[in-house]
Symmetry: C2
Subunit: 182 residues, 2 copies
């Protein structure tokens, strides 16, 4: 941030009085502009023994496989956001959403909330955001071309929990940076 | 947002191509400035049969009772944020944090993540942010002067779960606006 979004004066980065962190402070109107982590919401869409993955049609990691997920918007619940993202990326509606994993990704200031969900229909298809949308059994998951560490971990947790057919909500951290294996 | 934080040109609100929501778009450099919900992290600090509450020393709702909670910062995990907020507001460190409730508050674009936690010591005290910090047994909770509906609901859920000594993670929504019973 270079300029104040309210009055267009330059901002400086300083720790305000009665605060303990540097913030962007406007040199004109004095407003403090806070920056906070963003929430990403998505799901693991399940159909029998299979999981629905999307091949990304958008950078970063275009051509790599991922679970449907994206930034939470201001006018929706986290569950509604996960349903919307899945619809946008796969063309299908998911139901029976159950909170499954919360991943802290501190180095990119993102919090991922992943639900378990069921496919309402099998009418999924390629979309503007996905080159290909496909169901995978565990042995066919394309582990070497998964888009992001958080997606890899969510899938690993899911298949591990499936051994016991018990899917408790848990929290974990992702500390890896995005791999660049293009 | 009136001006672009990057180049200081005026912004307009329009739906970008390949998007379906109005965004703030810079008329100079063309950057799109997204706005997303903020995460609030906090806890229900428990000691035996009692819960620790803080009387707010900050507007809004100065003088009303609350649980320790505040905005998640960019360089911390949600659990670290809940511990930090509790320390800032009560002077004590909490341990054994367990994710307990996620509340969607769509009308103010906030997501509350509340943990259950134990007090490490009883050395809590008034702070810059809290006029008073006190342990309450259930029958003494000052229900009529709780600061926010989300705090009231978190406490109600906790006492309901305590009847069965079972505290599963669950998600809920807050649709009330902040009451103004000053």
């Amino acid at each position: 941030m270079n300029y104040c979004p309210h009055c267009a004066a330059p901002v400086i980065v300083e720790t305000p009085e009665a605060d303990n962190r540097p913030r962007s402070i406007c040199t004109g109107c004095g407003r403090i502009h806070y920056q906070n982590p963003k929430m990403v919401v998505g799901c693991i869409p399940v159909c029998d023994e299979r999981v629905l993955l999307c091949k990304r049609n958008i950078e970063p990691r275009k051509g790599f496989w991922t679970l449907p997920a994206g930034y939470l918007e201001c006018n929706e619940t986290t569950e509604a956001g996960a349903i919307r993202e899945t619809l946008e990326e796969t063309g299908v509606v998911v139901t029976e959403l159950q909170p499954y994993r919360l991943f802290d990704i501190v180095h990119i200031a993102q919090i991922y909330l992943m639900y378990l969900a069921r496919l309402q229909t099998l009418a999924f298809h390629a979309t503007e955001e996905s080159l290909e949308v496909r169901l995978f059994v565990e042995k066919d998951i394309p582990w070497s071309v998964i888009a992001f560490p958080v997606i890899e971990k969510a899938l690993q947790h899911y298949f591990a929990d499936r051994l016991h057919n018990d899917f408790p909500f848990r929290q974990d951290q992702i500390t890896e940076t995005i791999r660049t294996r293009y």
